[in-house]
Symmetry: C2
Subunit: 276 residues, 2 copies
């Protein structure tokens, strides 16, 4: 069976795109009231421009069971309309033993995601259950894009002065090296992103924080991709979803996604690793 990294690579090549659109429905900002109809319009408008969609569980859970039903329909819709696109369930889950296994069951079987995000504060053994599903991926939260990221992630480890997030990145290579384990690194800290790419040359990266969070796109693409200009998923959520709050929102989302894709492609072409 193909590894998750292979599956992701195939999705990127199919549309010639590293772009991921985050599906974070916010009733305060959505121009239509129905979550599924909103997501459907976004997916239909962008399916040929992306390698992945990333629904963030938090936004669906905040809407209760109807929100989760809308998520279920959204995943089904992506599978039928964009079968080559990867679906990453952004859950940041992390727990021990049987609880971790239950989360993996929820994410991979109930929701049917190709990959999830996870929080490894609990240690390497908390990730093991997620690695038991062949072909599925888990992106471990390494260096986040918020200002408080430094509180724990930048603490320097005694002896060698390595920040915790780099120690995590180095250890993650021991936890799995079969293309199932990736890392989440915010675009808002391009220097840290680049450093982790040096530590983990073959690891899939999920890079949120471009667009609304202000991360510099060119640096993120240049520093976050591997030596072949691949193996990185560049995510934008709000910048695409809420490009317009009028009835033209789907077209505006398409335009925003196309602009981002073009900017990413320009960086890749400039480095001689374009799609042609």
């Amino acid at each position: 069976m193909a590894s998750f990294r292979d599956k992701l690579d195939a999705a990127c090549r199919a549309n010639g795109s590293l772009l991921c659109v985050g599906l974070d429905p916010d009733p305060q900002r959505m121009p239509v009231p129905d979550v599924f109809q909103f997501n459907k319009a976004i997916v239909d408008a962008t399916a040929d421009l992306v390698c992945a969609y990333k629904p963030n569980m938090a936004f669906y859970e905040a809407l209760g069971l109807p929100g989760l039903e809308a998520l279920q329909r959204t995943v089904e819709h992506i599978r039928s309309q964009a079968p080559g696109v990867v679906v990453i369930g952004d859950s940041k889950r992390g727990d021990i033993g049987p609880s971790a296994r239950a989360y993996a069951t929820a994410l991979f079987e109930v929701w049917g995601f190709d990959a999830t995000t996870a929080n490894a504060y609990g240690g390497g053994d908390t990730l093991r259950p997620f690695l038991e599903w062949p072909g599925r991926g888990v992106f471990v939260w390494c260096r986040s894009s918020n200002s408080g990221a430094a509180d724990l992630q930048d603490l320097r480890v005694d002896g060698n002065g390595t920040p915790v997030y780099q120690e995590l990145a180095a250890r993650s290579r021991q936890w799995a090296d079969d293309g199932s384990l990736g890392l989440v690194l915010g675009a808002t800290y391009p220097r840290e992103l680049k450093r982790v790419r040096e530590l983990c040359p073959e690891t899939p990266f999920l890079i949120p924080g471009v667009g609304a969070q202000g991360g510099a796109l060119a640096e993120a693409v240049s520093g976050g991709t591997d030596a072949n200009g691949r193996n990185a998923v560049i995510n934008s959520s709000r910048g695409v979803l809420y490009a317009s709050r009028g009835q033209d929102f789907a077209q505006a989302a398409r335009d925003a996604a196309a602009r981002l894709k073009d900017e990413i492609d320009d960086v890749l072409a400039g480095e001689g690793v374009g799609w042609s």
Copy 2:
């Protein structure tokens, strides 16, 4: 409004108990097939013995939408049958900005929990949304009870050699000092638990890992409670829920919970901080 710590203290005094029963329904082990009926029987059998119930989201999510409906009914049942008991939603959530706010909305408004558990790898600002609900609590995962806990939590911080989990504990006092922020510390590492109690003399502790996970109860109670023998929630899940797999499971759960409560009370009495 009463702080979460006050609310928890009132719940402990009402039943004279520090015991929390974790509601982790596992269809492989449940003697009845229906999750709500199982939980209802456990709650009805133990409501006068506990200060809190702790449903772990993972087990409900693994069962899909029907599992979450059973959780909803379970919380309603606890509210009607044991209104003085605190309900802690064990979610280990952690994310940034709007995502963190959406998780807090889900946990405090959709599910209506009195408190949740959270993962602070993302830093202090990821907890802030959880602190915006007056009277609710957030227990930050500090030192976990699994063997891999050491991977990140025991890394020693440059300069002073403090382990990461102690650094987290110390910082947590700066993030909130109004009785809304607690810590999760596994009973399986009693020395670490005791050290964090020294660092955080007034912080509510949630202590899982007694019973099935083999944590030593007496050390956990003695080291984890505050100077008055309070402010600690001692959780057992599997040891109570699956005390019997026969039709006598509810009575067996009651017996197991009563034994644990007695053991806890003996430790408190021995230290001169019993309930009388």
